[in-house]
């Protein structure tokens, strides 16, 4: 089909859909009388539209739709269409800057992650044990900052030297003892994500309940 034909069919059927969505009940036959040369294409689209686009899914039908599918599909498509572009991996050093350098406020971060500002601050300071962070939270951080998931995981795990005790070094063979930034030595005892959620005075009951459900689902009791 040539481009002119396609454009014409698009415009005609757009008009039909607009009428349907405005609550009017357009008649396909009127369109076929007006545009007989596009009859087959018009009917084909109208039938498809009423079968799959005008169809209302029952409530809860999207439950069980794996959240990672959209990310994976988009990643695959970009790889197919832009295969020669190098992947830039910048180490993540803060949660308050996006991958292209745009600053982010604590409030914006909190909104994106659906947590409170006090929890955002704990996350930024890496004051929550990384092993207790739900995958869902890491995905939201990854999405908001447009950073790869492994960069986000690495960011949160960066202060964990040999388990959950901050400041305890792990030396490899023939390696000099590491130097720690002074903030690490002064860092307060880190809590779990669940403890942070439960203790937060800024999170609503509904938010706490949602995070509780996510933690249970991921087996993080």
């Amino acid at each position: 089909m040539d481009r002119e034909h396609d454009e014409a069919v698009l415009r005609i059927t757009a008009s039909y859909v607009a009428e349907v969505q405005a609550g009017r009940q357009p008649r396909v036959s009127d369109y076929l009388l007006r545009y007989p040369q596009y009859a087959n294409a018009i009917v084909d689209f109208v039938i498809y539209f009423h079968a799959l686009e005008g169809y209302e899914l029952e409530e809860g039908a999207l439950e069980g739709f794996p959240p990672e599918i959209a990310d994976m599909a988009l990643a695959r498509v970009k790889l197919r269409l832009f295969p020669l572009e190098p992947v830039r991996l910048k180490p993540l050093t803060t949660l308050l800057v996006e991958s292209d350098g745009l600053p982010l406020t604590l409030s914006q971060l909190a909104a994106a992650l659906e947590v409170s500002e006090d929890i955002s601050l704990l996350l930024e300071r890496r004051s929550i044990r990384s092993a207790t962070l739900p995958e869902e939270l890491l995905r939201r951080v990854s999405r908001r900052l447009r950073q790869p998931l492994n960069a986000v995981s690495t960011y949160f795990a960066a202060l964990e030297y040999g388990g959950d005790e901050p400041g305890k070094p792990v030396s490899r063979i023939a390696e000099n003892r590491a130097r720690y930034p002074s903030e690490v030595e002064r860092q307060p005892q880190r809590c779990s994500f669940r403890e942070a959620v439960e203790a937060s005075p800024q999170l609503s009951h509904e938010q706490k309940a949602r995070w509780d459900a996510i933690l249970k689902r991921e087996g993080l009791e």
Binding site: R3, L32, F45, V46, A73, L74, V77, L81
Partner: protein
């Protein structure tokens, strides 16, 4: 300029007669919106783009500009914004497609992934094709069309789209042919008054959900689709259909008969498949 006010300012400046009769803002307004945004790639520009109230048509405009300028990072960023904003709608569509299919256990996620990836690739190619101008006028409608193409291609590839064609030499019951000469009425939810000897054919329309039947009708040859739709969904008489399609009454009846047989056979094939497990 206050970024947040750009969209409101441009819409408010339109007189009511500048909107076409369907209430769709003409393309010129999207061009105006696009030109009122802050300078490309500035912090204010990205804040506006990420704000969520910029029409998708304007995002397509800027996506194409970024791509033309070779700004891969900017292009990718706008692509992600567009796909995030349409993600829920695309997921609903994918679920609607799979709802009508019987899938072996464990294949559902694989199907969803393939379907989504096919759709995203198709949409992205369309977005990057500057000749496809309607994306900058009515994004959602173009998305419907893209989904239609992807649905068809996907079903064909998965072997689930068999074009319904009459097999030569198959005898059509004389009673069925005779019954189609009687007046029919439908499309308003009332019972189809078809007096046919073959009860299975008569019950066909009642045993299948309307959307599933529409998906079957979609697979009919082009010449038969219009006749079926106009008679059974729009409630037209054979004479009216003949007038609309500029064919004779007899041709309408012949096409209806062929469509009836094809749909009936396909439904029977489906039932046999299910009973075979």
């Amino acid at each position: 300029m206050e970024v947040a006010g750009v969209v409101e300012m441009v819409y408010a400046s339109k007189e009511s007669d500048e909107w076409d009769r369907e209430g769709i803002l003409p393309c010129v307004a999207f061009d105006e919106l696009a030109s009122h945004l802050p300078s490309y790639a500035s912090s204010a520009f990205w804040q506006a783009i990420c704000a969520g109230d910029i029409p998708l048509e304007v995002l397509v405009h800027w996506l194409r500009k970024a791509h033309r300028a070779g700004d891969a990072q900017g292009r990718n960023r706008i692509v992600e914004i567009i796909f995030r904003r349409t993600q829920a709608s695309n997921e609903r569509w994918a679920m609607s497609v799979l709802r009508a299919l019987t899938l072996p256990g464990g294949e559902r996620h694989a199907f969803l992934y393939d379907l989504c990836a096919d759709l995203y690739e198709s949409v992205l190619r369309a977005l990057l094709d500057e000749k496809r101008l309607f994306w900058e006028e009515n994004f959602l409608h173009c998305l419907y069309f893209e989904r239609k193409h992807v649905y068809r291609a996907f079903m064909r590839r998965e072997g689930r789209w068999r074009e319904l064609d009459v097999q030569k030499g198959k005898r059509i019951p004389r009673a069925l042919v005779a019954s189609l000469d009687q007046p029919t009425r439908l499309a308003d939810g009332e019972v189809l008054a078809v007096d046919v000897e073959d009860e299975r054919a008569a019950n066909m329309f009642h045993s299948v959900e309307e959307s599933d039947l529409l998906l079957l009708v979609l697979r009919l040859p082009d010449r038969l689709k219009a006749v079926v739709f106009l008679i059974f969904w729009e409630g037209r008489s054979e004479k009216e259909v003949a007038h609309v399609l500029a064919i004779t009454d007899r041709t309408v009846r012949n096409r209806l008969r062929r469509a009836f047989q094809l749909l009936h056979d396909e439904l029977e094939r489906g039932r046999e498949g299910m009973s075979d497990g």
